[in-house]
């Protein structure tokens, strides 16, 4: 049941101000996104049409606290097929971005941000890796990037960066 007193009518405007969230109000709920979604095909807990509808209705808390917004695999199938140019993949990213700022970051993305903050890459490069690369005839790669760490410490992810 939706309790109208708990709805936040400004949520759609909030989303539309995010990078990539601009077109959310264009959605007319045709469901093209959901029909072609490879994640939805496996688990109907992820339903892009429903998520957009929830945002338009103002179900802010439920959307931002949910586990489903993290399930978009960012394949851009819906993005290309949407007749209204809603740019759904970007809307999901915008929702995740807001959720992160509200303190609901998913542990997988927290871990990724921490790794990139520490090493400038998603994986730590160890001496072993460069030795292996050398054996394979490949040039060594840098192990850390101070510039990346500095940039992330200056971003809205700064609390995650050591």
């Amino acid at each position: 049941m939706i309790d109208s007193k708990k709805l936040d009518p400004n949520f759609k405007f909030e989303v539309s101000k995010e990078i990539g969230g601009e077109n959310i109000k264009h959605c007319f709920s045709c469901g093209t996104c959901t029909v072609g979604c490879p994640v939805r095909e496996i688990d109907d807990k992820y339903n892009p049409r429903k998520i957009i509808r929830m945002v338009l209705l103002g179900m802010r808390e439920r959307v931002l606290k949910s586990d489903f917004i993290w399930l978009c695999s960012m394949c851009y199938t819906c993005y290309d097929r949407c007749p209204q140019g809603v740019h759904l993949t970007d809307i999901m990213t915008a929702l995740k971005n807001i959720a992160v700022r509200e303190g609901y970051i998913h542990p997988a993305f927290k871990a990724q941000a921490e790794l990139v903050g520490a090493f400038g890459r998603l994986y730590e490069v160890e001496d072993f890796d460069n030795k292996k690369r050398n054996k394979l005839g490949l040039p060594p790669v840098k192990k850390t990037f101070d510039e990346v760490t500095k940039l992330l410490k200056d971003s809205d992810l700064k609390e995650l960066i050591k």
């Binding site: 992820y46 199938t77 993305f109 941000a113 990139v116 490949l138 809205d156």
Partner: protein
């Protein structure tokens, strides 16, 4: 032909066979890869947490390429997508560009317009061309039946890629495979995502996405699956055992390899140079079929 080689995070430590084979065939084709050790993460891994942070990281790499006046050659689909998108956004949106450049100024870098980003497969398809590739074939691969996996971010979303291929009916990778003499076999769900981006979020969904792909590909009894993205490969190769035991299925060691490994074989290169030893699922049956020891 000169490109700044963008390796990204995964390739240098987990897909050296992709890198080795790409470098080998580039040499053969007269492509000069410039290694830039300052290239770091493309920005994709932080995009879900902060689009702005992702743009800044992408812009840092683009700024480095601009200083060197080089087109970026990517090997990973996600790097291709994030760098191309950031480049477009920052070219078109002055306010965003100023914001990002303000951040970059603290490390003495600046995003400048004019950089281009190309996936290696697109370079082979557009800049080298199929005829030239066909002319380089030294080994007969006509006995091979293969399927290709395009992956996302290579030609999707459409507005990033100048219509070089059709995202709903792509042909470039099929044509590249056929240029080697092998046959490219169509299959159901060819455009479906590997699931890699949500492997850490909900593993069972990601693995089922990969399983569905492997089901459809193996239904046609092909000799192998050709990819051109390290993460797609991780889904179909590194996670194979896990998928087989979780879903109680068997894919009879269907090998997964990178397109440059296939092209290298066609060019008559040695399997060692092409890093076949590093493939987790050995392409033994395929190599035997070709009479390669």
């Amino acid at each position: 032909m000169k490109y700044a080689l963008f390796l990204g995070c995964t390739i240098p430590v987990r897909s050296q066979n992709y890198e080795m084979s790409a470098r080998e065939i580039a040499k053969k084709l007269g492509i000069n890869f410039v290694d830039i050790e300052d290239f770091a993460c493309c920005g994709f891994p932080v995009k879900s947490s902060s689009t702005e942070a992702s743009l800044v990281l992408a812009a840092r790499n683009l700024a480095i390429a601009a200083e060197k006046k080089l087109t970026i050659c990517t090997l990973c689909n996600a790097c291709t997508g994030v760098l191309t998108e950031a480049n477009k956004e920052l070219n078109e949106n002055k306010e965003l560009r100023e914001k990002v450049n303000d951040k970059l100024s603290k490390i003495d870098k600046e995003f400048k317009k004019g950089v281009k980003i190309r996936h290696f497969s697109r370079i082979l398809y557009e800049d080298i061309g199929l005829d030239e590739l066909k002319g380089m074939v030294k080994r007969d691969l006509s006995s091979l039946k293969l399927s290709v996996h395009y992956g996302c971010h290579y030609e999707r979303p459409k507005n990033l890629y100048d219509d070089f291929d059709d995202p709903e009916n792509p042909i470039s990778l099929d044509k590249l495979v056929e240029a080697t003499g092998a046959k490219s076999v169509d299959y159901k769900g060819k455009l479906d995502c590997c699931g890699g981006a949500i492997l850490g979020v909900q593993e069972d969904i990601a693995l089922e996405m990969a399983k569905n792909k492997l089901d459809h590909v193996t239904a046609n009894k092909v000799d192998g699956l050709v990819t051109h993205c390290p993460f797609c490969s991780i889904m179909y190769e590194d996670n194979r055992r896990k998928i087989e035991s979780k879903f109680n299925v068997q894919y009879n060691n269907l090998p997964v390899f990178f397109y440059p490994q296939l092209l290298g074989l066609a060019m008559g290169l040695d399997k060692k140079q092409l890093g076949f030893r590093l493939n987790k699922i050995k392409a033994t049956a395929l190599l035997d079929k070709l009479g390669i020891e």
